[in-house]
């Protein structure tokens, strides 16, 4: 297969070629120009000197610089002026002075014209290399995908290119090999290194039924994986897409810079004409007027302004991707600075989202209690229901009639004509079931942070089941750091006040919003927003509206199970430390953007007037211009040094 050379690489190569050629003609010019100045000896007669310079400068401007010249002058009849228009006009005028000086009494700038073009090309070359560097993490992501896959076709193992893998193909992945595409393990056990995609350094255990992500690396066992997603639908493809989107998304702070960029070139053209006439008419300085006008043309640089934000975003989204943080909207970077509240969903965010039964308090035979409870819960898909079914571990269930789910409260139904309810206190109260006899035990369970499921039979309590969801390893640490940074951390949950408080205090959160039905989460976010900007951290499963409504929505998940569309920022590994990193990265990026914009503005504000005043020699002006955009790009690359 022929490797495709990227556009960017082609661009770098073409600038490099022009760079070498243009300098091989420009260096002799420099030598000619300065030899006599430095030594006082004349190599040639002045006329010959100028002719030599004109000959040497011609290819630099009109051959190696032809692309710039063509694109630049095109602007004068299409009225789409670009930076090329400035350079083209500047160099051509400078070149023409070499010819015009035979007729008028003006200084010859023809040698200078070649120097300007060569410096411009050099600047563009350095800039394109540095820009390539800015996107290196993203390039790595793109190259991450597997090229081939070993699949089972009519019971034979064959190796095929990745593009020929179909959904439901069974892929065989040996130790050390890359998993070709997203899928589900159907046979085998192993651990998989997912760090390239999630930033999580520890390998993740995989067994039958586990989801695996394409492009991650199988560690030690043979895995048989059924392909579930291919091509543009894979997780890796989504990640790449997101990172590219982030690169081209807009940050509000750049609006002014963009506006200036769009009118910059015509304004400079006019300014340069005014400069020339100013010097010529008021001071009768033709030569100085031409020099100053050329300086104005070549010093003005819309590039630094226009690059300031996107280059920082590019570097940042690359660093983010490496750490499992995907920034979907550039705006989030700016908003993050103003966030006051960080609201965490409990289940699946602070906790692992895998509740398990911790304690059973039975008023009847425990086996019977579990049989009744599991028979009803078996009909529900809720994670708590599943944990009870798992605990009961039954092969046969009782027949349930009139089963119903009461959202946010529990379930009900009848078993051999007895009315059964399983759920929280609200459900019991709704059905006028007295909790008096068991209240102390309920309190005890809740103080331990258990979600307490009360079981009633014909309006009589027969037992309670305490379910708890283990807290993720990093949650405590992450919340401690956020608290220290001055954020008000809040936990939101459907649990009742007491249970919620118990869990919150275990992780170090002081403010709790409890008893919230899933559909009310976004309402609570809106209420908080009256007091300050809110970041909402959730898994996007039942809190997608809250993620959308928050000022910054941070969707958290593991591997492929992420609600990508719901968040402004997406964390691909489940750890809450990702929130801390996302905050740090956003802040670092935003301050880089501000720095870059400041330098770009300052540069133009100071340099242009100097050029108008005729203080800057055109060559100095061109060097300054080239270095201004290189500075911005290099400064953005420095973002990598920041520890996040």
């Amino acid at each position: 297969m022929k490797e495709e050379i990227s556009l960017e690489e082609l661009e770098i190569r073409s600038w490099k070629k022009r760079l070498v050629w243009s300098w091989s003609f420009t260096i002799p010019i420099v030598f000619l120009m300065y030899f006599s100045k430095l030594t006082g000896m004349m190599l040639f007669e002045e006329k010959t000197m100028i002719i030599l310079q004109l000959i040497l400068a011609f290819p630099v401007i009109f051959i190696f610089g032809s692309q710039t010249i063509k694109a630049g002058f095109r602007g004068f009849y299409t009225f789409y002026f670009s930076m090329d228009s400035l350079i083209a006009l500047g160099t051509v005028i400078a070149y023409l002075t070499g010819i015009l000086q035979f007729v008028f009494d003006i200084q010859d700038y023809s040698g200078i014209s070649a120097m300007i073009m060569s410096i411009f090309i050099t600047g563009k070359y350095i800039e394109s290399v540095a820009r390539g560097k800015a996107g290196k993490e993203i390039k790595k992501l793109i190259e991450l995908g597997a090229k081939n896959a070993r699949v089972l076709r009519s019971n034979k193992e064959i190796e095929i290119p990745i593009s020929e893998v179909k959904i439901d193909d069974v892929m065989i992945i040996k130790p050390g090999e890359k998993i070709p595409t997203d899928g589900i393990v159907i046979k085998g056990e192993s651990s998989v290194n997912e760090s390239m995609i999630t930033g999580e350094s520890l390998p993740v255990d995989k067994k039958k039924g586990s989801n695996v992500i394409g492009a991650t690396i199988n560690q030690y066992g043979i895995l048989y994986v059924k392909a579930t997603k291919i091509g543009q639908d894979t997780f890796l493809a989504h990640v790449i897409d997101l990172v590219e989107q982030a690169q081209s998304s807009k940050v509000p702070i750049q609006k002014l810079a963009d506006k200036i960029t769009s009118i910059f070139v015509p304004v400079i053209l006019i300014l340069s004409i005014l400069t020339f006439f100013g010097w010529y008419l008021f001071f009768d300085e033709l030569t100085k007027g031409i020099g100053a006008a050329i300086s104005v043309l070549v010093i003005a640089c819309p590039c630094a302004l226009g690059l300031a934000t996107p280059i920082a975003l590019t570097v940042s989204s690359g660093i983010g991707a490496k750490n499992g943080i995907l920034i979907r909207k550039g705006e989030a970077i700016q908003t993050m600075k103003e966030i006051k509240f960080v609201v965490f969903d409990k289940t699946g965010t602070i906790t692992k989202g895998e509740p398990e039964v911790r304690e059973i308090y039975s008023l009847i035979d425990e086996k019977k209690l579990m049989l009744i409870t599991a028979s009803l819960e078996n009909l529900s898909e809720h994670p708590i229901a599943k944990s009870i079914v798992k605990k009961a571990n039954l092969k046969k269930y009782l027949e349930v009639k009139n089963f119903k789910i009461v959202s946010g409260k529990g379930v009900g139904g009848s078993i051999s004509n007895k009315k059964i309810f399983i759920g929280n206190e609200k459900l019991m109260k709704e059905n006028e079931i007295s909790l008096k006899s068991i209240q102390a035990k309920i309190d005890d369970f809740e103080n331990k942070g258990y979600t307490t499921m009360i079981v009633s039979e014909n309006k009589k309590i027969i037992g309670i089941i305490g379910v708890a969801d283990a807290i993720k390893e990093d949650s405590v640490r992450a919340i401690k750091i956020l608290n220290k940074k001055g954020y008000k951390t809040i936990m939101i949950t459907g649990d009742n006040e007491r249970t919620a408080r118990a869990i919150a205090s275990q992780v170090g959160i002081t403010m709790v919003i409890s008893n919230v039905l899933p559909e009310d989460k976004s309402k609570k976010v809106k209420e908080l927003q009256k007091k300050g900007k809110v970041a909402f951290v959730g898994d996007g499963i039942n809190d997608a509206p809250a993620l959308k409504n928050a000022n910054v929505g941070i969707a958290i998940g593991t591997g492929t199970d992420i609600a990508i569309e719901a968040g402004d920022i997406i964390l691909t590994n489940g750890s809450l430390m990702g929130v801390v990193k996302a905050v740090n990265l956003s802040k670092a990026t935003f301050s880089k953007i501000k720095q870059n914009l400041f330098w770009a503005f300052a540069y133009n504000v100071f340099a242009i007037p100097l050029a108008v005043m005729g203080i800057l020699h055109p060559v100095v002006a061109e060097i300054a211009m080239a270095s201004s955009s290189i500075t911005v790009v290099a400064n953005a690359n420095l973002l990598r040094r920041k520890k996040i």
């Binding site: 930076m83 090329d84 302004l305 226009g306 996107p310």
Partner: protein
């Protein structure tokens, strides 16, 4: 949504020129030109032909090399 791959775009004013030119086409709802990725993401209705996009880009002096839906 269409992704346009553009060649020759090397400066900020190029990007804003391309954006301006694409926006002039009737039926183009939104344009986002990225200098970094050298791509333009355009939201167009069905009346817009690929050729219109190509012309709008070449009018500003750049080359459309590929369109991805």
């Amino acid at each position: 949504m269409k992704k346009l791959f553009i060649e020759g775009m090397h400066c900020a004013s190029c990007a804003s020129n391309i954006e301006r030119s694409l926006k002039k086409i009737k039926g183009v709802k939104s344009v986002n030109v990225s200098l970094m990725t050298r791509k333009a993401i355009v939201d167009v209705d069905s009346t817009v032909k690929d050729d219109d996009l190509k012309k709008a880009i070449s009018r500003t002096g750049y080359k459309l090399i590929k369109i991805e839906e």
